[in-house]
Structures are given as structure tokens and as C-alpha cells.
């Protein structure tokens, strides 16, 4: 039987005493398989508790980041998008806290069962954000609906997904859009919203401006038409004390629609005294304060997402990376284990004959995630370009493998390090210029080029490359 586990640096004031407590740092050592759900105390100052939730969701071990989390509340006025970020919540002062926890444990059992079915795909854990989101959605098995929120710059937020996202510059919208484009998720329409074309902020102020000078200091007047004498003037022309009296025929107006009507509205600009009927509608962004015509703002469809059958499968057994599948279709990509064997054979051959050098190249395309996060469905075009570049730089004798969708391993037989370096530099330049210059995507290529020798342990080299460039 799984048990709840409280995650807190200090034991909360009110909590069932039979419940275990551990700090976030100790979480890695806990047997998570015995945990039904994690409890995070949410004090009146909810930031700390929310930060704990974020640390859990940003973990790379799926057993931790997918683990159900409940908030333990001591106060009631927590913003809804914070409250909904967890799988649920219980009140600290509840007399039946233990009973409620048991109910939650039963309710979350299917989630835990689905987490158990997931495969460990890499020793390093799940690093792809899109994959983490997919797995999260799969294990919850529910539709993820956005809620409107004034706290969130984009206006809409998917509260349970938000803690998964480490930085502000990658939006859940793009990741979800990408997953939908891969048919891993299906979307249903919820709403449509405008957001700032400069900063993506959804908080736009719509206002009327003068078409001549752009001022929004406008006065509007209703035009009144007196049927009897055909006089047309502004409502203020007719006001005489408490009555409306026609200035032309000096008759008192009786009833709207019977002896007069309001034909239209006229605007006066107080800044330039221009007169017009159709003010220019402008929007200004509450975030960056830039003014833009409404038609130039971004109109975005707000959707609810749920997992598809393919998505479910991909979540359990690994999501073929789009780049990897494109590379595999264009290049002769061999598996990581075979690559290791070939590398071993090559290093033995070189050690025995000592007459030639071969090079091993480890390349990491940092920022590849931002490609599909920024481009969504259009990523495949870029990936096609990258694989074309690889195709043209590699020779037929080169051995090529991909790991974790962004680490390329190339064995170049009979190639001195300098020549390999030259070839890889060209490849490097081409990919960087494609991404940075053309698409403005910040992308750097980290690489290690070494002569093949029996000293080389591939995994250590990869680890070293990742570690030195992590900061």
C-alpha cells in the first residue's frame, strides 16, 4: 500500500503524525514506488510551496516529476491557477485529514499505475520538455483546459502544466502545438484571443483614436434628425434646460423614433479638432506599451488538449524525435550500441597497426528544443535543412549515430583531427547560420573532436561535453 509523503524542509504545524516528512533534497533517495502522492504545504505566502512544486515537476526522473502532488492548505484565498497547478489539495485544519488522504490515494491510484507502466528511456532521465509534457498529460488522462488568468502574461494558462516549464521564453502553447502537430495530442477549440505581436502579452487595451493625429482624446456626439424640419445637429444643439428643443423650428422634441431619431454618432478630436465618424481603433499592450493596429496583433486559438492513442504509446515507450526520424530517413544512422562496437573495433585496429589516425566527433546541438518550441509545426522544414547539411558534409565511410535527439556521434575513419575539425567547422557554420541568421534561434554547437584511441570511453566523453557546457 502506497503512502503519502510530505515534502517540506520543516514539518508543517498541523499534519497527521503518522505521515512521513522529507526535504526536497532527500527526495532522490526515497523509494518513490511506495509513495501514493506528495504533499506540499502551501502557506499564506504560497510562493515557497509553488516553488517546491516547480522543483518536483522540473526533475528529470519521471518517477519524481510525474508524481501526484497535493497542496496542504492552511488558508483559503489562494489564486485558482496556483491551486489547480497541483493534482489536488487538502485543508490542514480538516478534522478528517487522514480520511481525505486515503480517498485521494485511491483516486490517484490509476495515475500511479500509469506512471509505473512508463519505460526508462535514458539513464540521464527525460530531458525533452515536450516529452515530459506528453508523459504528464498521458498519466493524468484528462483533458487539459486553459483558464483565463490575469496573473499570466499570455492571458490563458494550463495550471498543471506550467510548473513543468523552466523558463518564461518557452511557452506551453508552442509545445502543445508541436505535440498536436505530431498527432500525439488532439485539440478542441475553447476560445480565440488577441495578444501583442511584440511581446505576446494578452493584455491589450483597445481604444478609439483620431484618424488624423492619433490622439485618443475624443468626444463623441449623437446626431439628431428632426423629421418635421429636416434639421440635423448634435444632441447638444437641442438641449434647452431639461428639454430637447429643435433650434431650427423651435419645437420641443417628443419621442425618439416618432418625431426625431438619432441618425449616427460623430467624434470630435480634442487634440486637432478633426471631425469624423469612424475613429481608428488601436491597441496598446499593457506589458510593452507599444501601440499596434488590431489587425496586426496576433490572433491565437486557445485550445484544450487530450492525449491520442499514438500519444499514449509515445509517452510510454519514447517519443521518436522528429529530427531523429528525419535523420534516419535521410542518413544511414546506426544505433548507439552498434556505434560503440564499431568505435571499439576501430580503436583496436589503430592501436594494432599504428599507421593511421581516425577521428571521433561528438557534437551537441544546444537549443534544438527551442526549434520546435518556437516553430511548432514548421520544425520539420528546419530539421530537413539540418539533415541536408549533415548529408553533404559526411562521407560514405563515416559512421553516424544520434543520441537523445541532440547529440550527434560521428566516426571518421582515416581522418586526422585537423581535417575532421575542418569538416565539422563547415557543418557547424552552416547549421548556425541557418538557425541564427535565418530564424533568429539562439543555437550553439558544442563539440569534441579526438583522435580515436583505446583510451576513449564514449559515455565519459559525452558526459564531459554535457557537463562543461551546461553552465
Amino acid at each position: 500500500m502506497r503512502k503519502p509523503l510530505i515534502v517540506s524542509a520543516t514539518a508543517p504545524e498541523h499534519f497527521p503524525h503518522d505521515m512521513a516528512v522529507c526535504s526536497f533534497a532527500e527526495l532522490g533517495a526515497v523509494d518513490i514506488a511506495a509513495v501514493s502522492f506528495l504533499i506540499i504545504p502551501l502557506e499564506a505566502d504560497w510562493q515557497q510551496g509553488y516553488a517546491d512544486l516547480q522543483r518536483i515537476r522540473r526533475h528529470v526522473d519521471f518517477k519524481i516529476y510525474l508524481c501526484p502532488v497535493l497542496f496542504l492548505l492552511s488558508k483559503k484565498n489562494i489564486p485558482p491557477e496556483i491551486l489547480q497547478a497541483a493534482d489536488g489539495y487538502v485543508f490542514a485544519d480538516s478534522e478528517q485529514l487522514t480520511k481525505e488522504c486515503n480517498t485521494w490515494a485511491a483516486r490517484l491510484e490509476p495515475v500511479n499505475a500509469r506512471i509505473e507502466q512508463l519505460k526508462i528511456l535514458s539513464d540521464a532521465g527525460d530531458s525533452s520538455l515536450a516529452f515530459k509534457v506528453l508523459r504528464f498529460i498521458e498519466t493524468r488522462d484528462t483533458e487539459f483546459k486553459p483558464i483565463a488568468s490575469a496573473r499570466e502574461q499570455k492571458g490563458f494558462v494550463y495550471p498543471p502544466l506550467l510548473p513543468l516549464f523552466p523558463k518564461d521564453d518557452i511557452s506551453p502553447f508552442q509545445v502543445l502545438d508541436y505535440l498536436e502537430s505530431q498527432r500525439l495530442l488532439t485539440a478542441t477549440f475553447v476560445s480565440r484571443s488577441y495578444s501583442c505581436t511584440h511581446c505576446d502579452c494578452a493584455f491589450l487595451n483597445f481604444f478609439e483614436t483620431c484618424p488624423d493625429c492619433g490622439s485618443n482624446d475624443l468626444r463623441s456626439e449623437e446626431l439628431v434628425h428632426h423629421f418635421k424640419c429636416a434639421y440635423v445637429g448634435e444632441l447638444s444643439d437641442f438641449i434647452q434646460g431639461e428639454h430637447l428643443v429643435c433650434p431650427k423650428c423651435e419645437t420641443r422634441l417628443k419621442q425618439l423614433g416618432v418625431d426625431h431619431d438619432k441618425a449616427s454618432v460623430v467624434f470630435h478630436c480634442n487634440a486637432c479638432s478633426s471631425i469624423f465618424q469612424e475613429p481608428k481603433i488601436m491597441t496598446s499592450c499593457y506589458n510593452c506599451w507599444r501601440e499596434t493596429e488590431p489587425e496586426n496583433q496576433v490572433s491565437r486559438q486557445i485550445q484544450a488538449y487530450s492525449i491520442t492513442a499514438i500519444g499514449m504509446n509515445a509517452a510510454r515507450y519514447g517519443m521518436d524525435s522528429l529530427l531523429q526520424s528525419i535523420l534516419e530517413s535521410k542518413l544511414n544512422v546506426i544505433s548507439h550500441s552498434i556505434f560503440k562496437k564499431i568505435l571499439k573495433l576501430e580503436s583496436e585496429r589503430i592501436a594494432r597497426y599504428k599507421i593511421s589516425t581516425s577521428s571521433i566527433v561528438i557534437m551537441r546541438l544546444a537549443g534544438i528544443e527551442t526549434i520546435y518550441e518556437k516553430l511548432g509545426r514548421r520544425s520539420s522544414e528546419v530539421f530537413n535543412e539540418i539533415s541536408k547539411a549533415l548529408q553533404e558534409q559526411l562521407r560514405s565511410a563515416d559512421v553516424f549515430s544520434v543520441r537523445d535527439e541532440n547529440i550527434f556521434l560521428i566516426l571518421m575513419p582515416e581522418t586526422p583531427v585537423q581535417s575532421a575539425d575542418l569538416a565539422i567547422s563547415r557543418l557547424n557554420d552552416r547549421i548556425v547560420s541557418l538557425l541564427t541568421t535565418n530564424l533568429n534561434i539562439d543555437c550553439t554547437i558544442h563539440k569534441t573532436i579526438k583522435a580515436v584511441s583505446s583510451d576513449i570511453v564514449l559515455d565519459q566523453e559525452i558526459e564531459h561535453l554535457l557537463r562543461t557546457n551546461a553552465a
Partner: protein
Amino acid sequence: MLLDSFSEFLSDLTLLKALAYFWPFFLIDMSRYLLLDFIVLIFYIPKRYRKRHAYAAARRRLFRERPLISVIVPGKNEGKHLAQLARTLTLQSYKNIESIIVDDGSDDETPLICRRLLRQGKITRFFRNEIRGGKASAANTALRYVRGKYVIHLDADSHLSPDAIEKVLLPFYMDDRIGAVGGDIRVANVNSTLATRFQTIEYFKTISTGRTVSSELGILRIIGGAFGAFRTDILQRLYGWDVGPGLDGDITMKIRKLGYKVVHEPFAVCYTNVPDSFRKLARQRFRWNRSLVRFRIRKHRDILLPSKNFNLSNFLASFDNIFFNLFLNMKWWLYLAQLLIIDPGHIEIIMLINLVLYGVANILEFGIAVALLAGTMYWRELALFVYLPLIPLYTGFYIRSIRSLAYLLEFVCRVSYFDKWNPWKVSNVVRNLE
């Protein structure tokens, strides 16, 4: 046979007899129109020539002062004409113009066209009344926002010759008692159909010559809405136009009543599209003629009655109009009755002689128009002289029948108050009022 009795009829004819048989022609049409036009223009044409220096001085004053002129164009579903109108405004020799278009509840693409012209800066202001209020209210909407010293009212389906605005303004700079100036209206679609050719000739006679003569005599009774210039202060004092139809004649009368002069300027030329079928023409004239009864006789009957505000030329302007249009329209039926009773045997001969007489009169009238307007007439207009012999049939039978029917219906049933010209709500209010 016919020829024999014809010569016999002619040889029998004494002066008195001729008068008895052809009194409508000799006593009325020849004297009021042909002779009067001839006499007046004999004085007018040389006078105009003598005043050429005064005109030049007025022109210098106009261009030195360079007042803003507000061109207002009210209309419904007229969008398709507006681009050309806006273009002729930009081609004017007088440049300080603001143009105000009022869309009176169009249900076609007019608002889209107007908004585009506004964006392109080809018109100054655009107002749209979502609910149609009638032509007067549309013109008054524009009047509420004019900034110019003079207002020029144009119909959307007309366009101006390049010096039209300059020319129509000159009279204001020659005489400060002038409150409104009518521009000359000519036919744009001259050679479309027979109906438009007849109307071209008719317009030369009734508008170009007719209004110039009336203006000289001080009895001009209408400043046409197609092209009329007004002093803004006077329009504002009157709070603009009253409910139509016939609002042009109505406002002209009101300006006269304020003691201002109204004149016609034959050299300020505006071209307008006229109905291109006799059916459409009949509908248009039907509407025009009914308004005579309504405005001259019902609304402005005070002019005809002696009072302390009595003014002879205002009286004559209205009387001339009522007498020569309304009453003399009846004379034809009297004349016809007379012939049938007294001398039914000679009716074909008498009719034939009438046709010849009126044919000759028309040729002379056309000659007068040419003498007056020569410099501003086109060859396509001059070439129409071949149609002149047919004009008596057009004016004598076609136009006269429509007029008679219109007067009859208006007197008996007050149909104009049910006119589609105005939205029903306006007609309703006005009908209960008068």
C-alpha cells in the same frame, strides 16, 4: 386634298383670325419665352461683355481672399459616381475646397467606397446616417459640419467642368446682396438615347437660357441642387433645407424672402446624367411637377398674398412659375376643346401649322442658346440641331401630359406626401403638419 384645303385655310387667314386660331403660340409661348429670351439676351450678352473687367476684378478678389469652399454631396446609393466627382474636384482651378459626402442610409457598397476615398484623402469628410432620413436631412448633416465661407451643393451623379467652382463664386464677389448662385446644368450622357438628346436640347432652353433670362429679370425661382452655391451664413441662418421633394426651389424661395438676390451663372458648368429612357424620365418629371403645387401654392402662398413683406419680384418669380407651368398647362386643354367645338374640320391643318410654328420657335431658341453659350458648347451638343423639328412633339405632348397628370394628382390626392423620396416616418410627420 390636304394641300388644297391648306392653301384655302391660309388665304382665308387674317391677323385677327390667326390670333384666334393660334393664340397659345402668339400670346403666350412666343411672347413669354421666345420674344422675352430674345429681348433679354440682346441686352445681356453685350452687358456681359462690357462687364468683363468687373469679372476679372472679382476673380482677383476671390483668389486674393481664397476662402475655404465646402462642397457637400448628399446622396443614397451613389457610391459608384463618387470617384469621378472627387477627381473633378481635384482638377478645379479653384483649390481651397473641402468636400463632405453624406451617405443617407445606402444599402449598397457606397459606405465602403466613401471610406476608401476618405483614407486616400480624396474627400475631406464622410458622414453616414445608418437610418435614411431623406435628402434634406443628409444635406443638413453636411451643413452642420461645413467650415467654408460658401457651400456648394452637388448631386453625386454630376461632375464639374474645371473652372466651374471659380465661375460660380464670381457673382458673390460682384454684388454682396447675392445670397445664392445657380450653376448651369447640362447633360452629361448627351448621346445615350433619343430621350437624353431631347433632354439636352430642353436643358439648353429651360436651364441655360431660361434661368439666365429669369435671373436677369430678377425672378429666378430655383437654384438647382445639382450645382448650387450658397453663402454659408445664410444657410446657417435658415438651418438648412426643409423636407423635400422640391427642396431646391424651397430654399431658393426662403433666401429670396430674406431679401437676398439669387442669380444664375450660365458659364459655371456642371454635367449631370439624365434619365436615359422615357419611362424613367416620366417618373422624374412626375416628382418634380408635384412639388410645384406643394411648395409654390401650399407652403409659400404668402408670397402671392399682399402683406407687409410683399415683394414684387418674389411675387413675380412665383407667379411666373405658377402661371406659365400650372395655369398654361390647362390652356392646352382649353385650346383643344376650342378647336374641337369651333372648327373640327381644320384640326389637322391647325395642328400641323402649330408644329411648324413651334418647330421654328425651337430652332430660334436653340440659336439663342448657342449665341449665349457658344464658347462652352461642345460639337456633340451643337450637332443636335437636327433633332429640333421633333422637339414640339416631345415638349408638346410627352412633357405636357406628364405635367398635367402630376398636377391633377397632387391637387386631388396630395400624393407627394406619400412620396418614396422621403422615408415613411418623415412623410408621415410632414403630412400631418401642412
